[in-house]
Symmetry: C2
Amino acid sequence: MPKVRQDALRGAAIQAIKDTARHLMAEQGTAGLSVRGIAKALHLTPPALYTYFTSLDDLITALITDNFNALADTLEHARDALPVEDPVAQLEAVMNAYRQWAVDHPVDFQLNYGNPIPGYHAPREITVPAVVRSFVVIVGLIERIVQSERYAPNPPYDTIPPHLQPALRRVITEGGYPVSELALYLSVSGWGEIHGIIMLELFHHIQALVGDTATYYQEQIRRMMRAFGIRPKG
Amino acid sequence: MPKVRQDALRGAAIQAIKDTARHLMAEQGTAGLSVRGIAKALHLTPPALYTYFTSLDDLITALITDNFNALADTLEHARDALPVEDPVAQLEAVMNAYRQWAVDHPVDFQLNYGNPIPGYHAPREITVPAVVRSFVVIVGLIERIVQSERYAPNPPYDTIPPHLQPALRRVITEGGYPVSELALYLSVSGWGEIHGIIMLELFHHIQALVGDTATYYQEQIRRMMRAFGIRPKG
DNA sequence: ATCGTAAAGTTTACGGTGTAAAGCAATCTT
DNA sequence: AAGATTGCTTTACACCGTAAACTTTACGAT
């Protein structure tokens, strides 16, 4: 089956294109992402890339998908590096890994969670499942914590906003996730909070206010967990 | 002084350019922002715009500055529409106005708080003071609340993270703002939280999870205030 | 009232972008 | 060995920001 070898070659070419795209973006930001730039770096003519991607948007979508998966991999790895017996420590590690990935790959993070490319709009049916993978890591941990003795309901986060309940229930049943509505609610809340801090940091809006953003973030997620009713220490 | 009239004409031209820029962006997103597009809409040749702006970046900076001021105006207006005797209600109104402005002007909000234009980077010395104007509205209200009987310290938000204190103190003394470190800390925390929710909403990441984002936001800021130790009702 | 000047706008041009169309050469399939 | 497919090049088009030179308009001072 030479077809296999050829498919492998094609896969390698696609990988090379994505690698140089990422490399150029790392150097010059999203402005460095251009068909012609990639082609030049690969010693090809620009239209040659259209053998592998139908358009620049198509390439961007591929990059975004990879990013979401890389982020999810990182979170899962951070979770699995700690003992299952301490889900609180795992959650803290995962949230720190979330920020760390964003700080280490700012352009990629923006590509996914901002909208940095004029004219480009990510196809929902591709990005939504990819986002879910990361989110599931957080929800899974919070679910285990909520069911453990490390959790003690703490107002105002001890109840689910009534208006929110139907939506949460629908997500759980339709998605088939075996989690409680409370765990899902706390996850959404927490996600919004860490996302906000990270976005403000990425665009340099809070450095002047808080100084060291890493320790600020660290402290805030600890406090957030406490406010949620999650006890630190084992 | 005919000079005055000419300056007025020049001002009107600049305003017309900014208006059409905003109009094009509202229709086609940040991709619609182009010198040539604006020129065509105004029945001018592209280089003619360089009489009023030295570059496209220059125009973008002007738009961003206007946005920050418009947002700050909106917040101040929301604050002043309610009696001074109820700073808690004022704060809630201001935070709702913050989201409402973002929802009403999504592209403008992205232009300010995202980084949607490849190759463009906002000059810090211009944007920072503009950001401060909005932030000051929030800090001012929280300061008044903290000093009132509506505030009762509530763990874990009753203390300031030790690492954070020097930075906050420096901001207060150097900026000359007559606010307590606690008010500033709570403001930063709150800002990060509402910012995160709004960003996730703008890029359609939480709609599937929470359904009605407006009521979710509303509920979350109420809970956040309670967690901070701010009592609702008068 | 006129002249010099400055401002506003034009034309032209250069180098950049994404990508469609056609053609060529090598390789795989039968 | 013949035909089809794949990878790639050449050419071309329509867009982009903006620099340079030139023309037109309107003003301020003499």
